[in-house]
């Protein structure tokens, strides 16, 4: 347990009296999505500060100093990404917000867009100013209809109030925002597929390089950021890089939205400082497993390799470095708890089926391996027809699809499958040897 009285120590627990929920402070409050509410609670003051007291490069420097890393999953340093934009040369530049939130176990962005859309708009104004873009686009997944309507409403309010348009907050800064709805495709969360989708094409990924900063949407210099990366910036500008960097660990700073789902007592989104432990999230806040024991968890969405339910992993810090050391990833911070009674073969078949469904079919390793063979192998195991050789074949298949596909989707499926073999091999062997799963519970529905 960290010493919460030492004020020089970084904040790594929500128990620390210095810690404050900032990004979710308006979420769940009736009427918080309206401009009047947002402004009455200090809204758009960060944008005013950035646009009137700072230069674009000072904004980028502040974000760099905060050590903010992208919250979409990959964790690339945001300030560095922004500085990749080429020098202004008169061409249109674009900021794109990735609100395609489709990684299973992730649901943090949805509530911000529904309940606090102005927080996102304010962050986008600051982001556009930093990279000197006058046009911004939000790519929101098609199912988030309420979020879409709330965003469109908020943008109209902001335009009418002079917060968007040709003279943002009375300055010479120009920013306008278009919201673009997806239509049900996980792959469009991959930034180059997202750009194709924005251009009215099929959502197939593009080859990198060129990176979006060189040739993005319409071939123009583009920066793509996640929703909560952008909302983090609002608070970094308000409170300073030092405040943000006072939370977290060496390689992971700031406050972050974690999500927890699966059978726990209080599933939901919780804002915590980086470096808080899984135990703090899973037990102290979410109340621990409900209706029986758990045997493992996905630490950050279904594409992050699952970990077994041991003290070692539960006490681990939820940050980029610790998870990398454990052979997994922080991902989106979407924890999914796997109850003991859920057979791992059936749980992983569900995950594999997801990636199989979402494979775009562009490249062979993913289309033939992940989307075709792998789910069939799982079906064979679940039908009680698997052999030990099949397990070897499956392991070879996923190993060979690592790093060989066009985009990260194949890895996103292969990595958790590999981890499930590593930690729960006994369940795979059981179903092969006995022709039935080790755990047979299949009714999870409540009356």
């Amino acid at each position: 347990m960290s010493d919460v009285t030492d004020t020089t120590r970084p904040i790594t627990s929500r128990r620390d009296p210095r810690y404050e929920v900032v990004m979710y402070r308006h979420v769940g409050i009736e009427g918080a999505h309206m401009l009047d509410y947002y402004r009455a609670h200090g809204g758009y003051e960060a944008a005013r500060k950035a646009l009137t007291e700072m230069s674009p490069s000072q904004v980028i420097d502040e974000v760099k100093a905060s050590k903010l890393r992208g919250r979409g999953g990959a964790g690339f340093p945001t300030g560095v990404k922004w500085s990749f934009m080429p020098p202004a040369d008169g061409r249109q530049r674009l900021l794109v917000v990735n609100a395609d939130e489709s990684e299973p176990g992730s649901f943090k962005d949805r509530y911000i867009m529904e309940d606090d859309p102005h927080q996102l708009i304010e962050g986008m104004i600051i982001g556009c100013y930093a990279i000197q873009a006058t046009k911004a686009m939000i790519y929101i997944r098609g199912e988030y209809v309420k979020g879409y309507e709330r965003l469109v409403g908020a943008i109209n309010e902001a335009r009418a109030a002079g917060l968007l348009g040709d003279h943002v907050l009375g300055t010479d800064v120009e920013v306008d925002i278009t919201v673009h709805r997806g239509a049900g495709a996980y792959i469009c969360g991959e930034e180059t597929a997202l750009m194709n989708s924005l251009e009215g094409l099929r959502g197939n990924p593009r080859l990198k390089p060129p990176f979006p900063a060189q040739a993005g949407v319409y071939g123009l210099p583009t920066t793509v950021n996640n929703v909560t990366t952008i909302t983090s910036v609002v608070h970094i500008i308000t409170r300073g890089a030092h405040w943000f960097a006072s939370m977290g660990t060496e390689d992971s700073t700031g406050t972050k939205l974690y999500q927890i789902s699966g059978p726990v007592r209080r599933p939901g989104v919780y804002e915590l400082p980086m470096g808080a432990s899984f135990r703090e999230l899973i037990y102290d806040l979410a109340g621990g497993p409900r209706g029986g024991e758990a045997k493992g968890f996905f630490p950050g969405g279904s594409s992050t390799p699952p970990l077994p339910w041991t003290d070692e992993f539960l006490d681990m810090a939820m940050d980029y470095g610790s998870l990398a050391k454990a052979g997994s990833m922080l991902g989106t911070g979407g924890v999914i708890v796997i109850p003991k009674e859920k057979d791992i073969v059936s749980a992983m078949y569900n995950v594999v089926r997801f990636y199989a469904h979402e494979s775009c079919g562009k490249c062979t390793p993913c289309r033939e391996g992940i989307a075709t063979w792998l789910p069939k192998m799982y079906q064979k195991l679940l039908a009680g027809l698997g052999t030990r050789e099949d397990l070897t074949l499956m392991e070879e298949m996923v190993r060979n699809s690592r790093g060989t596909a066009f985009c990260p989707l194949a890895d996103a499926c292969a990595m958790p499958v590999q981890a499930s073999f590593k930690w729960f091999r006994d369940e795979y062997e059981y179903i092969v040897d006995h022709g039935r799963p080790m755990y047979t519970k299949n009714d999870w529905w409540e009356a």
Partner: protein, 201 residues
Amino acid sequence: MVELETVPPFFADKQALVGEILGRYPEYGKRSAVMPLLWEVQRAERYVSEARLAEIAEILDLHPTEVKGVMSFYSEYHGEPVGRYHLQVCSTLSCSLAGSDQLYDYLVEKLGIVNGETDEEGRFSIQKVECLGSCGTGPVLQVNDVYYERVSRLRCDSLLEALNNDEMPPAWRERGGDNEGEVKAEFLADAAARDEGQGEG
């Protein structure tokens, strides 16, 4: 002889809408309007017919096949009519752990249709979908545009009854974690200690 059915054009009397949608994108990015135009048709007609594909193609100077190519990539666009109440059952892991597989089976049993089908009356259709981003409040059933969360057996019955009476209940948005409002989630141990203290006092 096959008599071709002709339908009145959809966009002919909606020039303001078309203009607004095209205006969202730069002239050189006109093609970006393909998805919003598909959405407009589907919202009104519950699917996108070949005739509508051709209309969209004409607006955007594309070949209808290109528009169909885009449409067929995305699982939310339908090439055949769906029911007035299109039931989209999330089937991904967190919802599955909350009973979505049994919820799906129950819907199949109650409505007599399976994944991808529409009933004869055109009232209900079922689609098994992947993660809807409501993992903390599963199982989730999306009916048309509306999310119904934590759909228990009892609540499923009441929802179906309402839909059978052509009443669409407002969204069931469930709370949890820091979504609850002004008071953010307390640590459970702290809440328990406080409740105990109050009990003694």
